[in-house]
Symmetry: C2
Subunit: 227 residues, 2 copies
Amino acid sequence: MDQAIDTIGEADDRLLTDQLFEQMSEAIVRGTFAAGTKLSEPRLAAQYGVSRGPLREAIRRLEERKLVTRAPRQGVRVVVPTAANALELFTIREVLEGLAARQAAEHATEEEVDRLRAMLKMHREMLSTDDAMVYWQATANSDFHFMIARIGRNQHLFDLLCGEYYTLFRLYRMQHRIVPGRAQRALTEHERIVDAIADRDADLAELIMRKHIASARTGLVSQQIGA
Amino acid sequence: MDQAIDTIGEADDRLLTDQLFEQMSEAIVRGTFAAGTKLSEPRLAAQYGVSRGPLREAIRRLEERKLVTRAPRQGVRVVVPTAANALELFTIREVLEGLAARQAAEHATEEEVDRLRAMLKMHREMLSTDDAMVYWQATANSDFHFMIARIGRNQHLFDLLCGEYYTLFRLYRMQHRIVPGRAQRALTEHERIVDAIADRDADLAELIMRKHIASARTGLVSQQIGA
DNA sequence: CTGCGCCGATATGTCGACAGTTTTGACGCT
DNA sequence: AGCGTCAAAACTGTCGACATATCGGCGCAG
């Protein structure tokens, strides 16, 4: 089974480390690198066609992002998701997203509220199509939280939610087969959040967002293997 | 001016990267590496007496921890603290510490409450000595938040507060000359938090902790240079 | 005197190689 | 047949070196 590992393209002026990090992150989330698999530096270097230097730096970033765990002098293994970890992670995400919603309510311009509304309207239309679920899980849900974080105007928070923790969140969400009707409920909650933001009600926006994430967490953890 | 950079000891079986990361983190917090200074890889490698490989990995971690900023193909510079960044950072810390307090209230054992109380009693005694402020800023305050995070039993949260963000928080706090009487007030707030934890009142513990951090943030940001 | 372009020096990004340690696999013993 | 032992293979941690891009200084033109 020659696995589907894209080799690193040649016409890309980005740093090798960055390309490797993205490829490997994606491979971990999609399961190409199965949970618990050991990542051997020489083998990966050969497969990607690069030397071990940039590869090590990419792995170091995977480690920093908690996508792999390192045992000194024994290499790194792909993290194995557990229900306990999922609970911890989404409990943290709950307060962070809550803060994002609060700050969005404090800083959103009229135009940004309009764009949020337009986006939700589009999402509602999408939800009546056939492949609603896949679209929802793939992009729609992320886009909403993405935009909320951006409107909050807290660069550090944005980096945390949409950068440093984003892949890890995706990894845990991936384990989760979406329950029917969840997307509809989530969209309704999104609309309530935007209402609170439009009203400049920071407390309410934070509260609803936290309940929204808590609801997602409950559904996720209860389903997680081994829970 | 041959600056005071400790060279890397020889009898230390820890990884070179880890030692370098700690030394450089400390150098940044203490100001040995002044804000805005460019960190040249060959020069640092020579000064520490190591090759560029481990050094690069350490710098990559500094970058991940937001202690340096990287401009591709131009190297890294020590981050320059701004009031805006301090505000962003301590706003995040506010909700994270709040969560830690909440989870501490949910999970603390009787013995852990006793140890919290014992610690605060010691802190109060320390506060009547001469070098109260330096002791407070150096260890006492950190110890308290450290213990709260530990009692919360959320490993990811603990790592965030006491690991990944710890040095960055210290860096910003370092810019801050402590205001007289602040330590007293902070200690009183700590005691209130422990009371809430002892009562198993998670909501109250979170609330007080958030106000506690918000109060520290206000004092810090208003003093920050350029605010 | 000032602005532009060239050139050398330096640094980053990348690579290949070596030493010590861990893991693997076979072999022999119980 | 199962287990402990031991050697070979593989891997991690570290180092030194090369190519290319960037930065600073110099000369020259305007």
